[in-house]
């Protein structure tokens, strides 16, 4: 009934700290955007150019057309390939991850399958350094011929993000009272049916959030792609390294590429902002 209306306001010192923080946070963002619209001559100047007088839209255009830059005897890499590859791998990887995750989440949450041990196992899987799993995976893939294939990468993505999806979805399932399923079962539904027909629709929002979260992880993923692809398939993080040409680095287009690549991430992150904490802390902290 009564609010603490005497809420504290941010004092001067608070505002100062806030502004400093904002500047520090936003400067790199500013920098990459600024670089992406700089014409070639202004990439490497000293003192550096902060706000270019002309907006070099060609940086953005070139990365899609792969235009040749005469002065550098090189082509700007065409990014459509990597966008497509990243999209394919991320989307399908996410789908599989969610599929696996939903099943496992029901198992862990509703049936306590695996008892005490399994959640620990799951956590450990997430905490383990990817490189430790990538090396054997690479060996395995070379043996069965999955290196540099869509399936290979999609599988890897699904595997590495399954712990995240399982955990997040499980925490959403936990919030749905089990009584709903039980009453459905009394009405004749089997257990599994009650899972999918009763609870699953109720966590739709959570599923979306988890999917976006996992998608973000996959889209940004670097190490796996680097190790498991050799050129046939190239994802965005990998391709962003290829802006080094004979005479230097194509800062402008590279930054433009970076900006373009990030846009979906920012959009998705804003959408799932509410659930970020839950995903990042294994559901230990809910907002």
């Amino acid at each position: 009934m009564s609010e603490e209306v005497l809420e504290e306001k941010l004092g001067i010192s608070g505002w100062i700290v806030l502004v400093i923080g904002l500047i520090l946070t936003l400067f790199p963002v500013f920098w990459i955007i600024s670089t992406s619209i700089k014409p070639m001559g202004q990439w490497l100047t000293y003192p550096p150019v902060f706000i270019p007088e002309t907006i070099a839209v060609e940086n953005y255009v070139n990365i899609f057309t792969g235009a040749a830059l005469l002065t550098t005897f090189a082509n700007v890499p065409m990014i459509t390939d990597s966008i497509v590859d990243s999209a394919i791998c991320s989307v399908f990887g996410t789908l599989f991850s969610i599929a696996i995750g939903v099943l496992a989440a029901f198992g862990v949450s509703r049936h306590r399958l695996g008892g005490e041990f399994f959640p620990v196992f799951l956590l450990a899987a997430r905490m383990a350094p990817p490189i430790a799993a990538v090396i054997p995976l690479l060996i395995l893939y070379s043996v069965i011929g999955l290196v540099d294939t869509y399936i290979g990468l999609i599988l890897a993505y699904a595997c590495f993000t399954s712990p995240y999806s399982t955990w997040m979805i499980a925490s959403f399932i936990d919030e749905v009272p089990i009584e709903l399923e039980q009453s459905a079962q009394v009405d004749g539904l089997s257990t599994i049916e009650s899972h999918f027909k009763v609870t699953l629709p109720l966590i739709k929002g959570g599923l979306v959030a988890t999917s976006l979260f996992v998608f973000i992880l996959n889209w940004s993923e670097f190490l796996l792609a680097l190790a498991l692809t050799h050129g046939d398939i190239i994802t965005i993080p990998v391709q962003i390294r290829s802006f080094t040409v004979y005479s230097g680095i194509l800062y402008g287009p590279q930054s433009a590429f970076g900006v373009v690549a990030i846009i979906p991430l920012i959009i998705f992150s804003l959408i799932i902002q509410k659930h970020l904490v839950r995903g990042l802390t294994f559901g230990a902290v809910k907002r």
């Binding site: 399994f118 940004s220 190490l223 902290v285």
Partner: protein, 304 residues
């Protein structure tokens, strides 16, 4: 009359059998985990014990060297250094992220205009792909780049810190970049924690005469302890895996002075092509992590 059960009903029966439930629900993820944890583990043990270098000879031809390859890792100076270095980067980074995140959370517990917008702005770094962050900071940390330029303006003299090419500066640069990218994470968690603090004890403390600082130190902070611990553990564990940033920014250099554990393993296994030895390294990594993880996980699980 015998009722025949069609395939759909049979499937339903199959699924509903509690014994089969385990198989179906957890089956897929066990496959996953097998691929991600168990299989690598076993394979790496095999590799360590056998000295097989994949790609060079067929596996059944490999001779057993009884783990000498494995033991070599312990004597590998570069490996030990990468271990130390990883901690050297991660510890200050996480520490700073925690402090900044806490400051941010405290600021955001007060009311002010534009809160939502500013909060979103503060969260942005977390949304950037690590590789993009890497390249961005690579540019910023250039000897004749914007950072040095701004420093020159502020300090009055020419500042040309060789951020990326000098050992300690490179480590500092990595710490700075990591802090930039992950402070929002701590900030987010801390804010969630601060928001979840019950109102009444804080008001009670006020009426009892405590100043804001006293309230923070004696009331809020102790109540936040659990969340703080969890946040630190999670962030620390994630940070130990550090790969993308150093790889892009310094390539492990100068020389190998910014090689983190993951980078070293990668360099050994994939760049040098010594998958066998690389596996040993990776195996040790895995064991190391598991050793660190097990006590660390308990606070997290308790919360659930």
């Amino acid at each position: 009359m015998r009722t025949t059960r069609n395939w759909r009903q049979k499937l339903s029966d199959f699924i509903d059998n509690p014994k089969n439930r385990f198989l179906i629900l957890l089956g897929p993820i066990h496959v996953v985990l097998f691929l991600v944890l168990l299989f690598p583990f076993l394979l790496m043990i095999f590799l360590s014990l056998s000295g097989w270098e994949p790609g060079k000879i067929a596996w059944w031809l490999a001779q057993f060297n009884y783990g000498t390859g494995f033991l070599k890792v312990f004597g590998d100076a570069r490996f030990i250094w990468s271990l130390a270095r990883t901690f050297l980067i991660v510890a200050p980074a996480v520490g700073l992220e925690f402090v900044f995140g806490l400051i941010g959370a405290l600021l955001f517990s007060k009311a002010f205009r534009g809160k939502k917008l500013i909060a979103t702005l503060f969260l942005m770094p977390m949304f950037f792909m690590p590789v993009v962050v890497g390249y961005n900071f690579w540019m910023i940390f250039q000897p004749r780049g914007p950072l040095n330029y701004i420093l020159s303006l502020m300090l009055g003299g020419a500042v040309e810190i060789p951020w990326l090419s000098e050992r300690s500066a490179a480590i500092a640069a990595l710490i700075i970049s990591d802090v930039w990218q992950w402070t929002p994470f701590m900030f987010l968690i801390m804010t969630a924690g601060v928001l979840s603090l019950p109102e009444n004890p804080i008001m009670a403390a006020k009426v009892l005469g405590a100043s804001d600082w006293q309230i923070f130190r004696y009331v809020k902070l102790p109540m936040l302890k659990n969340i703080i611990v969890i946040a630190l553990i999670i962030r620390f564990m994630e940070a130990l895996k550090l790969f993308d940033l150093p790889f892009i920014m310094t390539g492990g250099g100068p020389g190998f002075h910014t090689e983190t554990l993951s980078i070293y393993a990668f360099v050994v296994a994939i760049v040098s092509g010594r998958l066998g030895y690389g596996s040993s390294v990776a195996l040790i990594l895995l064991i190391l992590f598991l050793l660190i993880i097990t006590p660390a996980i308990r606070p997290i699980l308790r919360r659930r």
